[in-house]
């Protein structure tokens, strides 16, 4: 039954090994589900959120996975709209990672709103002056697009593909995928941007506030830019991790290098824009609100935030990976490529942390102290829950769906050696045929 579902031309681990992996990760998943049920049944008192931290670990995780899932929309844009044809060998995995990230984001939001039965209120009673309404709209629509992009993969399963209707549907969806990819890029541009815009419009919090271009603060563009830069890095990172775990090559080097090069230039330009933004904020925006830059990094005894976090975010996790990825040698050397994609992925997570949690840590009133926050175990468990869910979905998809089109070519399955008896007979026949290929009679 199981082998009938595995794609042709590829080898997978035995079913018991697969089941064991699912069971181990499933245990973590169940822990998260237990914490999730506690939050839903008992309420948000299960968290350590407070009046200072209305946004906390969940919103950071939300923004983080949405940024890391940006590889799906950006790779899709490059592949279908800009015609980077080589990326077709990695687009399936980028879509899967994006699907996991966005479904995780929606799951986290469903936990975070405390009363998930009223989740539809944001659509029905939309606050049209809120950036988060735009996020909710775009996020939901884009998740629909990701489902549409993931569906053909499911339909390409060996058994499902035998049904003519599903075969035709999958083919037709591939044919007009450019429409969905372009719609996805449009939606992603706005929801990634609006997530950045949330802190950028907080004029009462000078640490997050930024100047505007029309109605959009600079953070709007920086968030979209960083997601387009770091999302593909995360796709490469997960691909490389999958290759390590599977113990075989799944995507050719030229494909990885092309995606790394595009991501590298995106990251390099983003870092330049981020440096300019930081400089302008430090010299113009913050002083106009009565602050100097170092107010936000020093004299905060209850908090861990120092200037180190800015250097780590922009320098170590921004400039360094960008420099590695824009050089040919940096991309081609496995160690530096690993370093760059890990740093870029961490960098975008750190950026989201700063723009969500450090913004809230800074005191608003002069007589207030820095606010501190440490998540409860329920918050941690429910944040790990989507990771476990993602691993399970990757395990299932990798086993049963043709995620990596180059896998069979890169890992040809050797034909089993003929049984000993047959080999002996063949040898004897060879001895009987002194003229090599001629039959005995002809000889």
């Amino acid at each position: 039954m199981d082998s009938a579902l595995i794609p042709d031309g590829v080898k997978r681990c035995p079913i018991w090994q697969f089941g064991l992996a699912i069971a181990v990760v499933g245990a973590v998943l169940l822990w998260g589900v237990f914490a999730m049920l506690l939050v839903w049944i008992k309420g948000l008192n299960q968290t350590n959120m407070n009046n200072a931290y209305g946004f906390a670990l969940w919103i950071w995780a939300d923004l983080g996975v949405i940024a890391l899932g940006g590889g799906a929309f950006f790779t899709g844009l490059m592949r279908y709209v800009f015609g980077k044809d080589e990326l077709k060998y990695i687009i399936n995995y980028a879509v899967l990672i994006g699907f996991i990230c966005y479904s995780s984001a929606l799951l986290i939001l469903a936990i975070d709103i405390g009363q998930p039965l009223r989740g539809w209120f944001i659509f029905w009673h939309a606050n049209v002056h809120s950036m988060l309404t735009e996020v909710a709209f775009c996020l939901t629509c884009y998740f629909g697009v990701l489902c549409i992009e993931y569906l053909p993969l499911i339909l390409e399963n060996k058994q499902v593909d035998r049904v003519p209707f599903f075969h035709n549907l999958s083919h037709n969806m591939h044919e007009i995928m450019v429409v969905f990819a372009a719609t996805g890029a449009f939606l992603s541009f706005f929801h990634q941007g609006s997530l950045g815009g949330v802190s950028g419009v907080l004029f009462g919090r000078p640490f997050g506030y930024r100047e505007h271009i029309f109605i959009w603060p600079y953070t709007f563009f920086l968030f979209t830019w960083s997601a387009a830069a770091c999302g593909p890095c995360f796709t490469i990172l997960v691909t490389k991790l999958t290759e390590k775990i599977a113990g075989k090559k799944l995507v050719k080097d030229n494909v990885i290098e092309l995606l790394a090069k595009i991501a590298g230039w995106m990251l390099a330009t983003y870092v330049i824009a981020k440096l300019i933004d930081t400089w302008y904020w430090a010299t113009v925006t913050a002083p106009s609100k009565g602050h100097v830059m170092m107010d936000f990094y020093t004299n905060n005894p209850d908090s861990v935030y120092g200037i180190w976090i800015l250097i780590l975010e922009v320098g170590v996790c921004g400039v360094l990976p960008a420099l590695i990825l824009i050089t040919d040698k940096g991309r081609k050397t496995p160690a530096t490529l690993w370093t760059a994609v890990i740093l870029a992925s961490l960098g975008v997570l750190l950026n989201r942390w700063v723009m969500v949690l450090q913004v809230l840590a800074v005191p608003v009133m002069p007589f207030e102290a820095w606010s501190t926050y440490f998540p409860s175990w329920q918050e941690i468990a429910t944040t790990i829950l989507p990771v476990a869910y993602g691993v399970i979905l990757v395990l299932i998809s990798y086993r049963y769906l043709p995620i990596f089109p180059q896998e069979a070519e890169l890992n040809p399955i050797e034909e089993p050696a003929p049984p000993a008896e047959t080999a002996e007979v063949t040898e004897k026949n060879g001895e009987l045929a002194p003229e090599g290929e001629l039959a005995p009679a002809e000889a």
Partner: protein, 52 residues
Amino acid sequence: MFPVISFEWVWDMSHMVFHGGLWYALSIIGMGMTYCIIKAAYDTFKGTDDHH
């Protein structure tokens, strides 16, 4: 969310831009999927399989 049906609906720029964008995106997604499904049903019915 819906003009006329929703009592909170106001014909102002914010509502039109926000919900206009939403319905625009949903329309493209909906029409795209409808096309794929109808064409797949048609191809299946006709028995055409010029794929691969």
